[in-house]
Each structure stands twice: as structure tokens, then as C-alpha cells.
């Protein structure tokens, strides 16, 4: 049981962060704090994807041939370098195969799955845009209401709604008469 828990430590951490973020986003009355919670929530999703992609001992997804170390050690010839260049062209053609875990022939390197990393670059951009728009809206709220507390804003709106309804009722009464 303990092993089960410990083996998945990363996921527990992510779930914890995610729930904290979600709770702040719902429960905080301060609008800025809500956005902080939202940011935490989104960031924990990024961690989730990244930890899906991880492999023990994995590095960056750059493939090289068997003689990679050698040619570097001897610092030798031109020919080996062009060989690598040729290889590289091959890999990019087989990039998909490599990404899905089929090792292309003659290549070494254990690497983390690059796709979730790339997806998360996009998600980071989306998150930044959302936060920026959210903060801009909060700035406007501060200008219009003079506060960033959600409950104060709600009570102000309620007062407006009540006075509107009252004037409405009066108008319709006047109309009936």
C-alpha cells in the first residue's frame, strides 16, 4: 500500500496542487486571488503532462549514431560528420516512429516523449493569455467599482438591481393608472 502511494508521488503532488488551485479559484473573494488559484490549477496540468512524458534516464530527444562518442573523442574527420548529417535527415523523416517509441535503426539515446512538452508550450501560451485578459478585466473592475472583492461587487450590483426593479414597478403602476 505504502509502495503504491510512494511510487506515484508525482501524481499525488499534482492532484494536491490541482485541488488547492481549484479551491482557491472558487472560494476566494478577492478576484486577484481567484486568478492566482486559476494559475495554480493550470500549472498543475502542465506538471501532469510533463510527468506523463518522463522516462527513467530520459534526456532531450536528440538521436545520434553509435559512433557519436568516438568521433567526438578523436575529434577526427569530415566523413563522420557528414554521416551524422545524413542520419539526421533520416530521423526527421522517421520522426514520428521515433516519437511513438519505435527506435529507428542504429540510433541511441533514451529520451522523454517530446510531444507532451510541445503541447504544454501551447498550453502555457494559452494560460498566459487567459491570465492577461483576466487581470485586464480586474483592472477595469477596480476602475468601475473601486474594489476587487467579489462579495462587495455582488452587493453593489444587488442594490442597483433592487432600485431598478423598484423604479420599474413604479413605472408600470404609473402606466396602469
Amino acid at each position: 500500500m505504502l509502495e503504491f502511494v510512494l511510487e506515484r508521488g508525482n501524481y499525488w503532488a499534482i492532484i494536491g496542487l490541482m485541488m488547492i488551485g481549484l479551491y482557491i479559484a472558487f472560494a476566494a473573494t478577492n478576484l486577484i486571488k481567484r486568478l492566482v488559484g486559476l494559475g495554480l490549477f493550470q500549472t498543475s496540468i502542465i506538471l501532469f503532462y510533463i510527468s506523463l512524458a518522463r522516462i527513467d534516464g530520459g534526456t532531450a530527444p536528440i538521436l545520434y549514431g553509435k559512433d557519436y562518442g568516438k568521433s567526438k573523442g578523436h575529434g577526427d574527420d569530415h566523413g563522420a560528420a557528414t554521416d551524422h548529417a545524413g542520419d539526421a535527415v533520416d530521423h526527421s523523416a522517421n520522426g514520428y516512429e521515433a516519437a511513438t517509441g519505435y527506435a529507428a535503426e542504429g540510433l541511441e539515446n533514451i529520451y522523454s516523449n517530446p510531444l507532451p512538452h510541445v503541447l504544454m508550450l501551447t498550453a502555457i501560451v494559452v494560460g498566459v493569455a487567459t491570465l492577461a485578459v483576466g487581470l485586464a478585466i480586474i483592472v477595469r473592475i477596480r476602475e468601475a467599482y473601486g474594489t476587487v472583492e467579489a462579495d462587495e461587487i455582488r452587493s453593489m450590483d444587488l442594490e442597483v438591481a433592487i432600485s431598478e426593479a423598484a423604479s420599474e414597478a413604479e413605472e408600470s403602476k404609473a402606466g396602469a393608472v
Binding site: 511513438t100 485578459v133 483576466g134 408600470s172
Partner: protein, 510 residues
């Protein structure tokens, strides 16, 4: 007509229609932002949406050229699907794309007087840029065949929507908290969706929807897949304003600029429902163990709860916009009810109602925008006696209203009829009773407005006869006549919906 327009498009362009449909408004958006004044940006947005509309018509023609509906697969940037991002258009997509582009085009035409009155001069060009970005996102969601790409487009459209809603602040400051709330809920929804996609990716190793559908068959009982399913349904449910998750919608609709309300009501939730249906039926499929129980225990009760609770809420609103907003949530309930039947007839009825509701709400909110423009008020009081002072606007409004209620010879009747017969076929006669009851509530809340419009003396006798400008009246009447056309001769739209449902059930893969 569809064949004629699509025959005018050169073949080279028609081959790239799926990409051009989405890319053109996206490229026009930054240009619109740079334009010196709003009027040019308005013309540009008409051009952009018209181009998208032509592409959508081409796609519909291409899909319908094959008996039973062709499937167009477009590899973005020439990268073969599964490795690259695929745009995949079948009968269902092409229907939703046609709907979004038609509404987007009409909305773009009618927008100018309304935008001129409600948006400050300096902001107008940017406003149209945001509109085009929103339009891009919606069409992108409707055409992509890649799960993560769908998330990106969903967020593109949503972020633009938050901006558009917040711009209602020049008229009423309450637009700002409404937009903030929408941002919070919408982002949580999209994040839930992306968590779900992450689970599916972990279990299958692919993001392509067609490929996901194949690979999910083998890992149906995997706990990660079940969790992913739940996250996706809830996430898209928030975006689609599924009943208990709809709290963002009434305020966002009530306080945003009238043009934005009209566009969002007719397209945004519809596209989210499309995405939900796509995931329920294409990606997971009816064989998926969880699905049957989700349909019966989640979608159906929530649909029915929406139909009753939100119709009641609509009855007690004093503001016409809020009435219509709550009614929108109730109508989403009809669509979910149709989908939850889980048969081809049911899904077809749901999709049919989706299209019709877009036509109805487009018409109603457009008329409302006309009233806001001429009389600056949306409360029931402001509507009194409008039948005499703005007969053309209000007649179109009345057509939309009776169509919403479901009076024969209107679009609303056709799709409710399809829904009711699908329910009977499945033996859910009690659900038919609920549909009837909810329609009665619609009679009450729309009847209140119509009564005020046509049978009450104006509360303010100084109001002179003042019609909405012609540029609003023309698209408004196009939508109103579309309601009648679908109602009298519903064959075309019903055929599209049938093909869409058939594509989901027979084709298996999208």
C-alpha cells in the same frame, strides 16, 4: 443553390477549403486591428466571414456529393494525420460549420449600427479583430480532428469572447464581473477538458480523434480512460452551459454588447455541444461501458432539469435579455435530451434543434439589438407598445418567439416534433410530457413579452415611431424567413441533421 455556389469556387481553392475556412478570418483579424477606423474593420470582417461562408458551402457540397456523406481529411501543412494535425470534415462538421459561418456572416453585416452605438470609437477596429478571432476559434473547433487542437481553438474563441463580453462595460459596468466570472468558469472548463485529453493520451498514445476511437476499444476498462471521460464531459459541459454548470451564461448574455450576445447565443454554446457530441459518439462510441449510463443518468436528467428549472427562471425575469438567456439554457436542455436518447433519430433531432435554435435565438437577439439601438432599454416596460412604433422589427421578433415556442409552420415546431417522435420511438413518453410542459412555460415567458409588445400602450407615450435601421432589418428578416422556411419545408436542414447523425453512428470514425 449550394451546388451553384460551390461550382464557382476554383478547384485549387476547393481542395484547401478546410484550412482556408479557418485561416482566412485568422489572417484578417490582425489586419482589422491595424485599420485606422471601425467602418473599414467592419467591411473587412464582412469580407472575411463571407469568404469562410463560401468555403463552408463548398465543404457541404463536397460532403454531400457522395451518397451517405463523404469524409474529407485534410492534413495540415502536409503532415500526414496522426503525426500531424488533421482537419476532418464529415456530415456533422460541415453542418455545424455552415451554421456558424451563416450566422457569423449575418452577424457581421448587422453589427455596424449596434457597434457604433455601444462601442467607443477608438475600440471599434480592435472589437472587430476580437470578433474575427472568436469566429476563427469556433470554426476551428468545428473542423479539427485532433483532440488537443480542439482545446487550443476552444481557448482561442473563449479568450476572444471574454474580451467581447467585457466591452459591454461602456453601457453597463456589470459586464465586467460577468466577463470575469465567465473567464473563471470557462478556463476551468477548458482545463478539465485538457486534463481528460491527457488521460486519453496516456492510455492510447495518440491525439487524433479517429485514431483515439480505434485504440480506445482495447483499453475501455482502463481507469485512466474512465477518469478522462469524466473530465471531458464536465469540461465541455461547462462550455456548453449544461444545466448545473450554466451559471456564467445569463449574466454574460445580459450585459455584453447586443451584437456579441446575438453571435454568442447562436454559435458559442452550439459549437461546444458539437464537441461534446463528437467526443461522446465518435471518440468513445456507444460500446464504451460508461457511456450508456452517462447518457441516462447525467445528460438526460440534466437536460430535463434545464428545460424545467431554467424555463421557470425565464418566466420571472423582468429583463427581456435575461429571459432569453435563461431560455437558451433551457433549449440546450432539449438538445441534450435528444442526444441522450442515444439513437440515430435522437441525435438527429438534437442536431436539428441545435440548428433551429441558432436561427431562433439569432433572430430574437438581433431584433433585441435593434430595440436597444432605438430605445436604449431591454426591460419589459421598455417593450410595451413597441409593436406600433417598430412593426417590422417586432414582427420578426414575434416570428422568432412563436418559433421558440414551437408553433406549427415554424422551425421550432419541426425540431420539437422530431424530438418528440424520437422520444416516443424509445418509449420515453414521460419525457414527451416534460417537453410539452416546458413548451407551455415558453408560451408563458414569450407570451408576456409579445403581449407587452403588441397589446399594451407604450409606457412612455413620447416614443415616436422608430424602426431599426435597414442594415439590421435585412439580416433580421433573413433569419426570420429562414425560421419559416425551415418550418414549412424542413427537408434541407432535417436532411443535414440526419446525415450528421448517420455519420456518427454508421461511420464510426469521424
Amino acid at each position: 443553390m449550394i451546388e451553384f455556389i460551390s461550382s464557382l469556387v476554383p478547384e485549387d481553392i476547393a481542395a484547401h477549403a478546410p484550412a482556408l475556412l479557418v485561416v482566412m478570418p485568422m489572417l484578417f483579424a490582425p489586419i482589422a486591428a491595424l485599420l485606422p477606423n471601425g467602418r473599414l474593420a467592419w467591411l473587412l470582417s464582412i469580407v472575411a466571414t463571407a469568404a469562410s461562408l463560401i468555403m463552408a458551402i463548398t465543404l457541404v457540397a463536397q460532403v454531400r456529393s457522395v451518397e451517405g456523406g463523404a469524409v474529407i481529411s485534410y492534413a495540415m501543412g502536409g503532415w500526414a494525420p496522426d503525426a500531424g494535425i488533421e482537419f476532418r470534415i464529415d456530415a456533422l462538421n460541415s453542418m455545424v460549420l455552415l451554421l456558424v459561418t451563416v450566422i457569423g456572416f449575418l452577424a457581421a453585416i448587422f453589427s455596424w449600427p449596434s457597434v457604433k452605438a455601444e462601442i467607443r470609437d477608438a475600440k471599434r477596429a480592435m472589437f472587430y479583430a476580437a470578433y474575427l478571432v472568436c469566429f476563427t476559434g469556433l470554426t476551428g473547433v468545428a473542423s479539427t480532428g485532433d483532440a488537443f487542437n480542439l482545446f487550443v481553438f476552444l481557448e482561442i474563441s473563449s479568450i476572444a469572447t471574454y474580451v467581447l463580453v467585457a466591452l459591454g462595460a461602456t453601457r453597463d459596468r456589470r459586464a465586467l464581473p460577468a466577463a470575469g466570472n465567465y473567464l473563471l468558469m470557462g478556463t476551468i472548463g477548458a482545463s478539465f477538458f485538457v486534463v481528460g485529453v491527457g488521460f486519453l493520451y496516456a492510455a492510447t498514445g495518440t491525439l487524433n480523434m479517429a485514431e483515439l476511437a480505434v485504440r480506445l476499444q482495447d483499453v475501455q476498462d482502463n481507469k485512466a480512460v474512465l477518469a478522462g471521460y469524466a473530465f471531458i464531459v464536465v469540461g465541455l459541459g461547462i462550455k456548453a452551459a449544461m444545466f448545473p454548470l450554466h451559471q456564467w451564461l445569463p449574466n454574460a448574455y445580459a450585459y455584453s454588447p447586443s451584437f456579441v450576445t446575438m453571435f454568442l447565443a447562436a454559435t458559442a454554446t452550439k459549437v461546444a455541444i458539437y464537441a461534446l457530441v463528437r467526443f461522446l459518439f465518435t471518440v468513445f462510441g456507444l460500446e464504451f461501458a460508461f457511456e450508456g449510463s452517462t447518457l441516462i443518468w447525467i445528460l438526460m436528467p440534466m437536460g430535463i432539469a434545464a428545460m424545467i428549472a431554467c424555463s421557470f427562471q425565464a418566466v420571472f425575469q423582468t429583463d427581456v435579455r435575461r429571459t432569453l438567456a435563461y431560455s437558451s439554457v433551457a433549449q440546450v436542455g432539449y438538445m441534450l435530451l435528444g442526444v441522450s436518447i442515444g439513437t440515430a433519430a435522437g441525435v438527429s433531432a438534437g442536431m436539428f434543434h441545435l440548428v433551429n435554435h441558432a436561427l431562433i435565438k439569432g433572430c430574437l437577439f438581433m431584433a433585441l439589438a435593434g430595440v436597444v439601438l432605438t430605445y436604449q432599454g431591454t426591460s419589459l416596460n421598455d417593450f410595451k407598445g413597441l409593436g406600433r412604433s417598430a412593426p417590422w422589427t417586432m414582427t420578426a421578433f414575434a416570428i422568432g418567439a412563436v418559433s421558440l415556442i414551437g408553433v406549427p409552420l415554424t422551425a421550432g415546431f419541426q425540431s420539437k416534433y422530431a424530438l418528440v417522435s424520437a422520444l416516443f420511438e424509445n418509449g420515453w413518453w414521460w419525457a414527451v410530457a416534460v417537453v410539452m410542459f416546458s413548451s407551455l412555460l415558453a408560451v408563458v415567458y414569450m407570451g408576456r413579452i409579445l403581449e407587452a409588445v403588441f397589446f399594451r400602450a407604450p409606457s412612455n407615450p413620447n416614443k415616436r415611431r422608430q424602426e431599426a435601421p435597414l442594415i439590421i432589418l435585412i439580416p433580421l428578416w433573413v433569419l426570420a424567413l429562414a425560421n419559416i422556411w425551415v418550418g414549412v419545408q424542413g427537408g434541407f436542414v432535417a436532411g443535414l441533421a440526419d446525415d450528421a447523425a448517420a455519420a456518427l453512428f454508421i461511420g464510426g470514425a469521424p
